[in-house]
């Protein structure tokens, strides 16, 4: 009986150790996979926003959790507007980004064009521990860049924007950022006029 108890105790101990090992390995593996997924989503979101900003004409709003700007789009409505022939008729839209929080406490980013409904980004980057300061910018004053202050500076004067994701994690916090210059520095876009058509010239 005593031997049976000892053997059982040893077996339980061994099983416990093995189970503990197994759980730890699984935990580490899950953490690794989660980190990889979060990183991938965050990086893709950065790229998506950066690509949008690179097409911006000028900024309208710049706050840590909100970014809106006007950008050009090719008109794909098929209503006779051809950006190659008629540069003046490029479609200008207002693009908004904002940071929101769902009922479970997850932060996520939303985007909208003009006044259409907000839509969550397809990258589905969500995090509970995301620092809610995502956007910031620099203005150019007397040849030097200075951090943009929404109370003091005009958003139009911002040529450089930073998109930043800081996710606090127990181990290995995630810091990703991307600095993007607006396509034409200092907020000014050269006036584009329609090319003179040969037909018009003749007239």
């Amino acid at each position: 009986m005593i031997e049976l108890m000892i053997v059982s105790a040893i077996m339980i101990m061994i099983a416990g150790i093995v189970y503990n090992f197994y759980l730890n390995f699984v935990r580490i593996s899950v953490r690794g996979t989660d980190n990889a997924l979060l990183l991938s989503e965050a990086q893709t979101t950065l790229e998506v926003i950066a690509r949008d900003v690179r097409s911006a004409k000028q900024l309208i709003t710049l706050r840590p959790d909100r970014l809106s700007f006007q950008r050009f789009f090719n008109d794909t409505s098929g209503k006779g507007r051809d950006p190659v022939q008629d540069l003046d008729s490029l479609v200008m839209k207002t693009v908004d980004y904002r940071l929101d929080k769902d009922e479970k406490g997850y932060y996520y980013l939303e985007r909208r064009e003009d006044n259409r409904p907000w839509q969550e980004l397809t990258t589905q980057f969500r995090s509970k521990t995301l620092k809610p300061e995502i956007f910031r910018g620099w203005t150019l004053k007397e040849g030097k860049f200075a951090l943009f202050d929404s109370l003091r500076d005009e958003a139009e004067s911002v040529p450089l924007i930073e998109i930043r994701f800081e996710v606090e994690q127990e181990k290995h916090p995630l810091y990703l950022f991307k600095k993007v210059f607006l396509p034409v520095p200092y907020g000014e876009l050269p006036v584009m006029s329609s090319p003179v058509l040969a037909k018009d010239e003749n007239q």
Binding site: I10, I14, F21, G32, N35, Q43
Partner: protein
């Protein structure tokens, strides 16, 4: 395999990684020999029902406690000619062979897999194998045990452990490698972002102002503008004078952990502001494992003899095409790798 090695290093003190190779090899051989010595002792004592902890190592015949000099793996056996120093009783050569075998195994594993979980696991398995084989060889004792057996023997428990270890190690490998790779992937993504950041900054620098980091920070036209101008110790003077040493050691990525000493850093900030027109900001925690530098080369075509004789006479180039190369070097515990990207700027 590499990831596991790397993971193991994360739990070791940094100095281990920095210790000379030969020193580490000697240490491994010594530890393996000591393991062999311990197994010899356990193989003798456990079947006899003696404790493996007490009494201290002694000659089984004359019971004389052995000194440190008698316990050196392999060497003591050879020095004493396989006999007890005190009673001259001869011992079998297998004691030395077991120690030697484990040393060879440890060194071979280190050569093949490096110092990591795989090597340790494999060495543990081999050691247990040697122990169980050694004990099973004592057939008389074994038969006696088998006759009296009412529960599990030590050997059976050990065999169980060997089987369990054989199952755990591959599982562990799989899970740990996933984790290690995700860390590596994160470093690559950050390095890519750092490359892009610098490229973005350089796009706004006017063509005539484009310079290599060496020319901005270490060797500007005026000597006093060099961030290392007043430095006479550490690597700073060499970094100022030798471009190669500069690029081996310089990085424009500073965190609170790796920032230069105050005087040098202030000059760095001043030069940075002058070049990029922007205040330098320290990078987030953890970015100190990335090193980044920029090189600018003049890759203009050679002057034309017919149309540009002046340039040829003065040994000048047209300087209308520059190649800007940004390099990010990941130098962390998990990775040591360079990423590089170049762009051409025309006047």
């Amino acid at each position: 395999m590499e990831t596991l090695k790397v993971y193991f290093f994360t739990v070791l003190p940094q100095s281990w990684e920095l210790s000379p190779y030969g020193m580490r090899l000697t240490l491994i051989a010594l530890l393996a020999g000591m393991t062999g010595s311990f197994i010899n002792m356990a193989m003798w004592r456990i079947p006899r029902g003696e404790s493996i902890f007490l009494p201290r190592s002694h000659c089984p015949v004359c019971k004389h406690v052995l000194s440190v000099g008698d316990l050196l793996p392999v060497l003591s056996y050879l020095a004493l000619g396989g006999k007890c120093r005190y009673c001259k009783t001869r011992f079998g050569v297998r004691y030395m062979l077991i120690e030697l075998f484990l040393i060879v195994v440890a060194v071979a594993l280190y050569y093949h897999f490096g110092l990591g979980a795989t090597s340790l696991g494999a060495f543990g398995l081999v050691s247990l194998g040697v122990f169980t084989t050694g004990v099973l060889k004592r057939r008389v004792w074994d038969r006696e045990i088998m006759k009296k057996q009412t529960g599990f023997t030590y050997i059976e428990v050990m065999m169980c452990l060997v089987i369990v270890a054989a199952v755990i190690i591959p599982f562990g490998n799989t899970f740990l490698s996933t984790y290690g790779r995700s860390l590596k992937n994160k470093e690559y993504v950050i390095a890519y972002n750092l490359l892009e950041e610098k490229m973005e900054e350089l796009k706004l620098v006017p063509f005539y102002k484009l310079k290599s980091d060496y020319s901005i920070y270490a060797k500007p036209p005026r000597r006093e503008d060099s961030i290392f101008s007043d430095e006479v110790i550490e690597l700073f003077p060499k970094m100022r004078e030798n471009e190669e040493i500069f690029y081996e050691n310089f990085s424009d990525i500073f965190t609170e952990k790796n920032v230069y000493k105050d005087r040098v850093h202030k000059k760095f900030l001043r030069n940075y502001l002058e070049y990029y027109n922007r205040e330098y900001e320290l990078y987030p925690e953890g970015y100190h494992v990335f090193k980044r530098y920029t090189k600018v080369e003049d890759v203009s075509a050679k002057p034309d003899k017919k149309y540009e004789p002046d340039l040829i006479a003065n040994k000048e180039t047209r300087k209308d095409l520059l190649k800007v190369t940004v390099t990010v070097w990941i130098d962390s515990r998990t990775t040591s790798r360079k990423l590089q990207v170049s762009m051409y700027r025309r006047k």
